[in-house]
Symmetry: C2
């Protein structure tokens, strides 16, 4: 039982919503009425309604009151799992390169994996930058400065990782130039050319690129749209193939949106530990969950230093800063040397901006704000797709992040659709880029971290119309 | 004959200095006296004296007047050239890593390759950052912005490269995360594992690292302390070995300080063109010449797209910004794809800072200021070394940049010296890091871009004393 009064009340209303006492779209009792119903103060009701908002059960409409939000589970089915593949070299880079180049300045760029700038804490970062520039610029521009910027940042990162259940010190962390750089370094540290890397299916194109760059082989493991990688399928694959490492996005997977249940996380870490197989964890979207508590990273269950945890601020503060990091466990020294060998160091200015911004404490408020926006946007986007795309379309229903994974009827080729769409300056990421074996040629990934408007909706409707012409 | 009146007068005084009418350290006639001597106005004499300063023949001492500067040619000999080696794998990374880690926060860090922050245009950059943060931050933080920051920067870089004799468009340029990143990308684009790369001897450790990372083989070509790589030795090597590419620093070489004469540059580009061998040019110090005109890049003689030109702002605006670039000639597409594959993109904030700063026009003034300081520092440092290091010590005498290459008597081991020096928190780069074959174990590289003071001098004197104990 919830201990706070407002918590008890919000739980009661939530139950009413679940029991369809109030239906999606219904107006909830006004605050005045609810005060009378529950015999509590105005502020208690306000807190209860806020919590309902946070739980994404209700929304406030200006000058009108609170309304029940509908969940999108029932609109469409989720995509199905596919089968385990065989290890195979990857060649997606040319395709991704083409798409990124062709579409980078599109107005309706549903293909980008980054949030629109409306969702970034620009004013707060301006303040941070003003402060840093005034007081520390001299120290930041060159080496041997009196501030160890990198250490400041790593300390902040260690503090933040507590939210993901990880107890780390600054010395356990290596900073990188973004998360993709982190993934490449990790792969390079744990495997070599020709080695087999187990990945989720569909897979994050960035991981496929890294595997391609290092000439390794990818093995696609079936991945559930809600629960993430299938532990059973992975077990079988481990017996069948010489898997050298796993590279996964366990929390709000890109593109699927899946998030592994706690038990699966423990089981996975245990399974790989027995075989001494390193696990590269990409936790880029971990902070962007809509419901309940922040998921514990796989890293938090790792007692053997086998999990290499990667993340960055690209999804929360913007990719322009290029600040990522790794907590590489037992591969720390190796990663440090590899990073040095590859001579990619980061902008100290960016590092200081992120360290200082974290220190202001505004990050959490910012995250609370945007994750609700993203939840709303995912919902609006899914509803629009359900209304306009062909019958048989499936849509993922993630509980965090801002990616939607959409399966169109089998006869629709999303690469063809892409080529039709870009003529209207509308972009998305076609499914062919998410599998080395071409499993997802009728799928597409959409970015819901875009400002929602009737124009956005119209762009999606155009896409839906084009899909009828993109037949194989 | 110099056409301007002040030019004629400065030429006359320069001649007097050459003819020892005035000796090093002598006070030149006061401005009032010189007006009478040459029968010209005060401003003409001021211009003439300024030019002498720029030519590094005289220096202004506050409240005192102009004095003849001595050249350091005569203090000590320059190091000698070594012989051509055989192609060999490289393993310097661990050593460089150790040195950088151990010494990064030393006060007397003569080992760094970066200028001290006193020599950076901090106040100007603060202004630039304030402006950018106020007006453009939102656009810089994420993708799909209304400003194409990268294009802005590439346009500015194309403009600047005119000084190096290169006629380029923004589309001929790829930005990178610093110059070492640029070198790695270029090597990766033109050669593969096991290939032979011809380099200068001694070689820039960064190039050795890149060769090591890509598992290529390095072939050391004799390099003259004044004229740079020996074309004759390279010709012979080209006949003897399957050289896949050359990677050179033709202008103010690091560590030697050598700068190739115009004719050698032409000959080199022609020589490699006939054989279709790509040439990676590192021009990091190109802007920091003390005398005369800026050297034309090798790139400026390239009509076949075989020269891959690399540079960055690390030596002029500071390494903290991490803004480098390549003009890769015929390898443009390949470099773009490799960069994408390796997923290292740069901080857009840093790129915008550099683009905006270039646009202010302050860069040239800044460069004029620091290159004179570096010339003075090289001279002061060389004099101090000549006075205190063991007999038989040789010192390079570069006409640009801020590196000094110092040869100690053969029995002194500079790795031992390094281990003695770091106990006093004094660092330098030991010669072992400049050759894959251990040619320079009695050499060291010093950074003269440090504030000069009696403390600096004392640190060098300590180093000199330690050298007597660092016997093999």
């Amino acid at each position: 039982m919830n201990k706070t009064l407002y918590g008890q009340i919000s739980a009661k209303i939530a139950e009413q919503i679940e029991n369809e006492v109030y239906l999606p779209g219904d107006k909830l009792p006004s605050i005045r009425k609810a005060c009378q119903q529950f015999k509590v103060s105005v502020s208690t009701i306000q807190q209860a309604y806020s919590q309902l908002e946070n739980l994404y059960l209700a929304e406030a409409r200006p000058q009108s009151g609170y309304y029940v939000l509908s969940q999108n589970e029932n609109l469409t089915e989720e995509p199905e799992m596919t089968d385990t593949g065989t290890p195979i070299p990857v060649s997606v880079n040319d395709g991704i390169f083409q798409v990124i180049k062709e579409t980078e300045n599109f107005k309706y760029n549903f293909g980008a994996a980054y949030p629109h700038s409306d969702f970034l804490p620009v004013a707060q970062l301006q303040k941070t930058i003003r402060k840093i520039s005034r007081h520390h610029l001299k120290d930041l521009l060159t080496t041997g400065s009196s501030i160890d910027v990198n250490l400041l940042l790593r300390r902040q990162l260690a503090q933040r990782m507590t939210y993901a259940g990880c107890q780390l010190s600054a010395n356990d962390i290596v900073t990188t130039s973004g998360c993709k750089d982190a993934l490449s370094l990790c792969l390079n540290a744990v495997a070599k050319k020709g080695d087999v890397i187990a990945i989720e299916s569909p897979a994050f194109p960035g991981i496929l690129q890294a595997i391609e760059a290092l000439e390794m082989n990818a093995l696609e493991i079936p991945t559930h749209p809600k629960e993430g990688i299938s532990i059973d399928a992975l077990k079988l694959a481990l017996e069948q193939w010489p898997i050298r490492a796993c590279a996964l996005i366990p929390t709000f997977n890109n593109p699927l949106g899946s998030s592994m249940p706690e038990d699966n996380r423990k089981e996975l870490v245990e399974l790989l530990k027995i075989r001494e197989i390193p696990l590269i964890e990409d936790d880029l979207f971990g902070d962007l969950g809509t419901y309940g508590q922040r998921a514990n990273a796989l890293k938090s269950y790792d007692r053997d230093g086998l999990v290499l945890y990667c993340s960055s601020v690209s999804k929360s503060l913007g990719p322009g800063l290029k600040v990522g990091w790794i907590s590489p466990g037992r591969y720390l020294k190796k990663i440090q040397k590899l990073k040095f060998l590859n001579s990619v160091t980061e902008s100290t200015l960016s590092q200081m901006i992120v360290a200082e911004y974290f220190a202001t404490g505004n990050y959490d408020k910012h995250i609370r704000r945007i994750r609700n926006i993203y939840a709303q946007n995912r919902k609006l986007m899914a509803a629009c797709i359900a209304d306009h795309f062909p019958k048989g379309t499936t849509i993922s229903n993630p509980s965090g992040g801002y990616m939607l994974w959409v399966g169109l009827p089998a006869e629709i080729n999303t690469w063809k659709l892409y080529n039709l769409a870009i003529k209207d300056k509308i972009s998305f990421l076609p499914g062919i880029l998410f599998s080395p074996t071409g499993k997802y040629n009728n799928f597409l990934r959409l970015n819901a971290a875009v400002p929602w408007s009737s124009e956005t909706e119209n762009a999606l409707i155009k896409l839906a119309k084009h899909s009828l012409k993109a037949i194989d």
